[in-house]
């Protein structure tokens, strides 16, 4: 490996770039669907973000209003906790600079369903929600922006012209998650909430924490509830949709807006990953054919002294796996920088709202998956050239046969 520096460098480059892309892609999917902190209950957390109204054979989809949600799903038997939230934005002016911030109006249950790590203070309680207290929980990025490195607790800052007091600072959630925000405040302070009070249509979502992993129970209770409690007059029927993150992802990636189709999702994700792996694998096979081909004489010598084809395939594949794992580890390291670069790139599209640069977190799950991909890459790209080389005629190999 060290003697063939050119081929080794080329192989390492190919593998590390491949693994880097796979890692960024896998950590993106991981953050969308997996139960990473603070979304530790993701497997049984459903997001209700759509209400469909049927009238005269026509279907109209909308985001529900908070009054609709509170009237219809407040006391579901199959859920442990229900939280309401909506996502807004606000602009701040500081030191002559204009910056956008993600703002989430929510309630006390939001902090019970999730598991945010508080670096300062605490979450808001039911009383603060009831009393429409102007208190805020902010993430570390927002703290750094408004208060630098100083303690933020008890300090105030303006949101849409109103002053809020910081009562807690949390570590940021993934910006690809539904629970991400720069600032969290009680929904009762939402000045736009009254506008949609009586209507079905609004801007609120509900987060439902199911009692068990049997999510069908929640959905079936929701369906039954919509039949009984149809408070919307002059419509034929109303349906709501509540899905987990994995189900949402499955719906979007299987191009079916209504129902999650895991089979199709697996195929789509599989095809994307296979393409990421296949192209470099073919290149690596070619490089390996040349690299191993240059060792024809060595193979001939080993065969002369009793090496079987199996011995040689084992040796060459193990060597290939070592080089692939080395490349994979470099790729994993590179993926940290690549993800930050990607965030910077995404941030250039919106001058106001910036994602945190540490948005991509490589979990142990992703790390394991990428190591497995490395092994697979090493195995697939090494077996064919090694097998072909091991079958080479000994006399021809001893003469340094330079092709297979």
């Amino acid at each position: 490996m060290l003697r063939k520096k050119y081929y080794t460098a080329l192989t390492l480059l190919g593998i590390s770039l491949t693994i880097m892309i796979i890692t960024v892609f896998a950590s993106f999917i991981d953050q969308i669907i997996s139960a990473n902190p603070p979304e530790i209950n993701r497997d049984r957390t459903l997001i209700l973000d759509k209400v469909s109204v049927y009238k005269d054979g026509k279907k109209t989809d909308a985001t529900p209003s908070i009054s609709f949600l509170q009237k219809n799903i407040r006391d579901l038997q199959s859920t442990e906790k229900i939280s309401y939230f909506t996502n807004r934005e606000f602009i701040s002016f500081l030191n002559g600079k204009t910056t956008g911030h993600a703002l989430k109006f929510t309630d006390e249950n939001f902090w019970k369903i999730t598991d945010f790590e508080f670096t300062e203070g605490k979450a808001f309680h039911i009383n603060e929600v009831k009393n429409a207290a102007r208190v805020a929980v902010i993430n570390e990025k927002t703290k750094a922006y408004f208060f630098n490195e100083n303690e933020a607790l008890g300090k105030t800052f303006p949101i849409q012209g109103l002053t809020y007091t910081v009562i807690g600072v949390v570590k940021s959630a993934s910006p690809f998650s539904k629970i991400y925000s720069d600032v969290y405040v009680p929904y009762t302070t939402d000045i736009n909430i009254q506008l949609t009070d009586k209507a079905v249509e609004g801007t609120y979502n509900a987060m439902l924490l199911a009692k068990t992993n049997d999510l069908r129970k929640v959905r079936s209770e929701l369906r039954a509830r919509m039949k009984i409690k149809n408070t919307v007059s002059a419509v034929d029927s109303v349906k709501v949709q509540a899905f987990t993150s994995l189900e949402q992802f499955s719906k979007s990636s299987s191009f079916n807006d209504d129902e999650p189709e895991y089979g199709k999702t697996a195929i789509v994700v599989g095809i994307v990953l296979a393409l990421f792996l296949l192209i470099p694998t073919i290149s690596l096979v070619n490089i390996n054919v040349t690299r191993i081909g240059e060792r024809a004489e060595e193979i001939g010598v080993r065969k002369s002294f009793g090496a079987t084809s199996g011995n040689l395939v084992k040796q060459l594949v193990i060597e290939n796996i070592i080089i692939t794992l080395t490349g994979g580890l470099i790729g994993l390291g590179l993926s940290v920088y690549a993800s930050q670069l990607l965030v910077h790139f995404i941030n250039t599209f919106d001058p106001l709202f910036k994602m945190p640069t540490d948005s991509f977190i490589i979990s142990w799950r992703v790390f394991g998956f990428c190591l497995f991909s490395c092994l697979l890459l090493g195995l697939i790209s090494g077996v064919y050239p090694a097998w072909k080389m091991s079958r080479m005629n000994v006399i021809y190999a001893l003469k340094g046969g330079n092709n297979l």
Partner: protein
């Protein structure tokens, strides 16, 4: 020890058929040191490769150590080579990426039940026999031609093979070094009773062996 009967080797292309060996019948006894001589292209090396089970004859049979080897599977041939045969090549064929001792150990890597320590011990003994115990950590490109060939001899004898096949072992060496290598092989034959078959162009070297077989145009002439 080695019994070749009606051995033929024919190379065929779409248009040409070349007879490399024609009706070869040779018997070599255990402990014999035989030289095979003849002009370039007469089939000496082809015969040696067939004896070494590195190449298959087009026709005929080979019996080695009372075993019919022509019909053995690839795996069994590999095992036979590993246990019974040792090779010395004209151009040494040492692996440049491996140190001297690692090169010498190589045949034992493919033998079951030999520990790393045992391999190392036997490699040191083999290197001592060829007078290179001070060069164990060197790499082949740090050695002279004669030294490389002595490493190749150590590699050939580490597995205590019954037969050593040497293809022009002194061909790339000056006369002094050639003499040194030849003496080593004579000593192996004498002290260990190893059967040696050597292909050579050098009549002086051939005369030191017990028997000379002459080849011409793919046929045995004496």
């Amino acid at each position: 020890m080695i019994q070749l009967s009606n051995i033929e080797k024919v190379y065929r292309t779409k248009t040409i058929e070349t007879i490399a060996l024609n009706n070869i019948n040779i018997n070599i006894s255990k402990g014999e040191f035989v030289a095979i001589m003849g002009p370039s292209g007469c089939g000496k090396s082809t015969l040696l490769n067939i004896m070494g089970l590195l190449d298959a004859p087009t026709g005929g049979s080979i019996i080695m150590d009372d075993q019919q080897v022509t019909a053995l599977s690839r795996k069994k041939l590999a095992l036979f080579r590993n246990l019974k045969l040792g090779f010395i090549f004209q151009s040494y064929h040492l692996i440049n990426d491996l140190s001297v001792i690692d090169n010498v150990e190589l045949p034992l890597l493919y033998r079951k039940g030999i520990s790393g320590n045992e391999r190392r011990k036997r490699a040191l003994e083999a290197l001592e026999k060829v007078g290179l115990s001070a060069r164990t950590k060197h790499y082949p490109n740090q050695l002279s031609g004669g030294q490389r060939q002595r490493v190749a001899i150590a590699r050939a004898i580490i597995g205590n093979p019954e037969i050593i096949l040497a293809d022009e072992p002194t061909g790339n060496l000056d006369s002094a070094m050639g003499e040194e290598v030849m003496n080593l092989m004579l000593q192996l034959n004498k002290t260990d009773g190893t059967t040696i078959v050597m292909v050579t162009h050098d009549e002086l070297m051939a005369k030191k062996t017990q028997r000379i077989i002459h080849f011409f145009d793919g046929q045995q002439v004496s």
